[in-house]
Amino acid sequence: MSVQLQLSEVSVAYGRNEVVKRVCFTLEGGDLGCLIGPSGCGKSTLLRAIAGFEPVTSGEIELHGRQVSRVGYTQPPERRRIGMVFQDFALFPHLTVEDNIAFGLRRQRREERRQRVSELLSLIGLPGIARHYPHQLSGGQQQRVALARALAPKPQLLLLDEPFSSLDAELREQLASEVREVLRREGVTGLMVTHDQEEALGVAERIGVLYHGQLLQWDTPYAIYHAPQHRFVADFIGRGVFAPGLLRNERQVETELGCFTTSTPPLSHSGGAVDVLLRPDDLIPGEEGPFRGQVVARRYCGAEYLYTVRLKGGTELLCPAPSHFPYEVGDEIGLTPALREVVVFPRSTSEDTVKQP
């Protein structure tokens, strides 16, 4: 499919304070993108700039091949054909569900309008609530209605600003996949802001990690997880450890688990100390494993245990194993490395970052 949204060198500033810095990315039609980052990283501001509520201070935004924002020009939000779902849902309290959904359809004939509303109500699985008022709905229902309202005018792009953050965890997961399904059926491109990485990894085709206004990486969920290009991205997304290693040459790194060929761009200073990113699924446990380690902690996660294993040389690793044959703390465990991406960062000055399970 074609490119639906393109940002080139986009910056947004409040006064002198630049909160979004030279962000570039493209989103293909029909995909769902996720912007993720710690609070205050500029993700919501970036979303508002795409919606047209904030002017850009550099760069440009193209929507379906048409320029909608550049320095000195901001096409007003009501002309962009963008749908938006807000954190607080922003359902109009004085209108029924039906009228809320029909709010963006006022140019259509009454019959068409009614049909579109009932189509959307059955799409979100709530056909019986047309005459209800927002305050009569539960949080999850309000969320679905807000989605239906945003989708009603068939927008070119749907923006979702932390749409699930006010819901409880179980509902959040269910709704996230529901939203993904609804977008797919409507054929709508989506861009979602969140600070919940599981949400992002679970539903998005593209994930962007923002940090202090900079887009550190814009990639597939697999690449964000297994091939992070920045230490911050590696740290922020998912579990893992940085195992100490030594560069033998530009592409070879020596660790306690053996020698690997790096898949990151070659690091200049050969012979230097580096950190190798090891995700829990980079290691396979089993008696036949060539490397031996001792279990120092474990955490039960339902289907599996996540063990913290210490090798002889002191390197600590995270390793998952099915929960049927548990190891006790103090047991010895065999490990087989199964790395597809070998990601190496220069040794950080701070202590080795181990995310405890």
């Binding site: 919606a51 509520f53 007003p76 939000p77 009501e78 002309r79 962009r80 054909r81 963008i82 749908g83 938006m84 807000f86 954190q87 607080d88 922003a90 109009f92 309290p93 004085h94 709010f103 963006g104 006022r106 309202r149 945003a150 009603a152 005018p153 923006l159």
Partner: protein, 542 residues
């Protein structure tokens, strides 16, 4: 989005214009003291200050006793009639103090029903017995306390309702009875609200002209008008006004400060309204019933019955052309002032919402200052600049065209309406601003992302959500204008009468029965917003 400059160019001049009365009066502080002023200082000024202070002290005690006790009883105790009292205790707010002053004078004077009855029961004669003189400082204190305690009641009760029931239950579980809980916990926690309510009541006390004038108590307000019209000294009147303003200013600071404090005393009411009210035993229940009944009886039902009796006795008067003209005048004035105030309030509030810059915030605050300013001071502050403008125009016209323009502004309805808007804009502004707060910014963004223009958003989202607040704003200003006495008295065109002015004139002529006719009309109008207010309060919680 509209440009900020457009808003600033429209709102800043309006706010400055509306603060003209205040600026005028304050400017006279800088004027060197005139002769009359030093004369005043030597003679009556001390009594003005003393009387005003005694009045404030008395009203403070009265409103605190009635307001806090009834608020606690209706919130925390169970006794027959509690639900009724909870809303009915607001009713005295509907009566202007000067009207119950006339009513009680009629009831308690030598020839009135109370003394006649006493005489016929005990066979006394005139002069045989002692009877308290209602037309005195003490009488004024009682009158003002009876209609102003609802301010304390309203704010204190709201705080008692918000107080965490858990805190009070902890106190009970630690062995504190209701009295000890009341004095050691509830009142200290409610102190900021009590002080805020008290400050409002005292501002009204300082602003009162009708009651103290009728009772012959010399305070600032009566002094200002006497100095101006009796001695013809505008500068001295303005300086007295400025002195009065400094009293008001202290109260404003007190109110603001205690409201800020209130945040720290706030306790979250997460446990929900499951508080077990103290059940009262028989005699306790009777006591509680009386504590709630007496303010209501004396502040509302007795004066209302007397007014109704007088009005009934001369029911024909309500259809006479004289009365109908009064009614029309009052209604027209109140309606126009309410509409003007609403339009300006909308303009200012939207300006502030769209561009919340420090300048816009200062502008809105400046425009809303009038409410704290007594009507007499507003009158002085409007008259002086308008008269100066008229004189300048007149002499300019005489020099240029050789004829006199006379008075163009002062003594016209324009001056009167300007005075009303300057004084009551804050009322509109409060309603509109609190209404706008309910419209979250995401509503605007949602509407615009759905393709709605700003105009359409205003029509379909803002207006329906604001409707209630706009109606309240209109209603409150309407009733306030209807009741306003001193500003109307001074600023009205010659021989232009309103209900309030007519009631005042008739009462001053000792025609109390005739005064009841316009008074009844004012009271009926005043009851409407109070009923709406008490309904909205009781429908929220018990």
């Amino acid at each position: 989005m509209s440009r900020p400059s457009l808003w600033i160019f429209t709102t800043v001049p309006i706010a400055l214009l509306l603060s003209l009365p205040l600026l005028t009066v304050v400017a006279f502080l800088l004027e060197p003291s005139a002769e009359v002023w030093s004369h005043l200082a030597d003679t009556v000024l001390k009594s003005y200050i003393a009387n005003s202070l005694w009045l404030m002290l008395g009203v403070a005690v009265g409103t605190l006793l009635m307001g806090v006790s009834s608020a606690w009883l209706t919130t925390m105790c169970n006794f027959p009639g509690r639900r009724f009292f909870a809303w009915a205790l607001l009713l005295p707010m509907a009566l202007p103090a000067y009207i119950i002053a006339y009513t009680y004078t009629g009831l308690l004077e030598v020839g009135g029903p109370v003394q006649s009855t006493l005489r016929s029961w005990f066979g006394w004669d005139y002069g045989d017995y002692w009877f308290p003189e209602i037309r005195s400082l003490g009488g004024a204190i009682v009158m003002l306390s009876l209609v102003l305690y609802p301010y304390v009641y309203l704010l204190t009760r709201a705080t008692f309702l918000e107080q965490s029931t858990a805190v009070l239950e902890v106190s009970r579980s630690l062995g504190h009875g209701p009295w000890s809980t009341f004095f050691r916990l509830a009142v200290p926690m409610a102190r900021p609200a009590i002080i805020a309510g008290l400050s409002l009541a005292l501002m009204e006390t300082l602003a009162d002209y009708g009651t103290v004038h009728y009772f012959g108590v010399s305070t600032f307000t009566t002094g200002i008008l006497r100095t101006w019209f009796g001695m013809g000294d505008v500068a001295a009147a303005a300086q007295l006004s400025a002195l009065l303003l400094s009293f008001v200013f202290i109260l404003i600071v007190l109110e603001r400060w205690s409201r800020r404090k209130a945040r720290y005393h706030h306790t979250d009411n997460k446990t929900g309204g499951g508080f077990a009210r103290y059940p009262l035993r028989r005699w306790e229940a009777v006591g509680a019933f009386l504590v709630c009944l007496l303010p209501l009886l004396f502040g509302f039902f007795i004066p209302l019955a007397q007014l109704g009796w007088w009005g009934w006795a001369q029911a024909d008067a309500f259809l006479e052309p004289d009365f109908l003209r009064l009614l029309r005048h009052s209604m027209q004035l109140a309606a126009i002032a309410a509409l003007l105030a609403l339009l300006i309030a909308l303009l200012l509030a939207y300006g502030k919402r769209l561009h919340p810059t420090p300048l816009m915030q200062a502008t809105v605050r400046t425009a809303g200052m009038g409410y704290a300013i007594p009507g007499t001071v507003i009158a002085v502050g409007v008259m002086i600049p308008f008269a100066a403008l008229d004189n300048t125009l007149d002499s300019w016209a005489r020099e240029t065209f050789g004829y006199s323009t006379g008075l163009l502004l002062s003594g016209t309805l324009v001056a009167l309406l300007f005075g009303y808007v300057a004084r009551f804009l804050a009322v509109s502004l409060n309603s509109v601003e609190s209404g706008l707060l309910k419209i979250k910014p995401t509503y605007d963004q949602a509407a615009r992302s759905l393709g709605a223009s700003q105009g359409f958003t205003l029509l379909r989202v803002h207006l329906p959500l604001l409707r209630g607040s706009l109606f309240t704003a209109l209603l409150l200003v309407f009733v306030d204008v209807l009741k306003e006495l001193p500003a109307t008295l001074v600023l009205r065109p010659f021989n232009y009468n309103t209900l309030a002015v007519r009631a005042y004139e008739l009462a001053s002529d000792e025609q109390l029965q005739a005064a009841a006719v316009p008074a009844v009309a004012i009271v009926i109008a005043g009851l409407i917003p109070i009923l709406i207010l008490s309904y909205s309060i009781t429908s929220k919680r018990t």
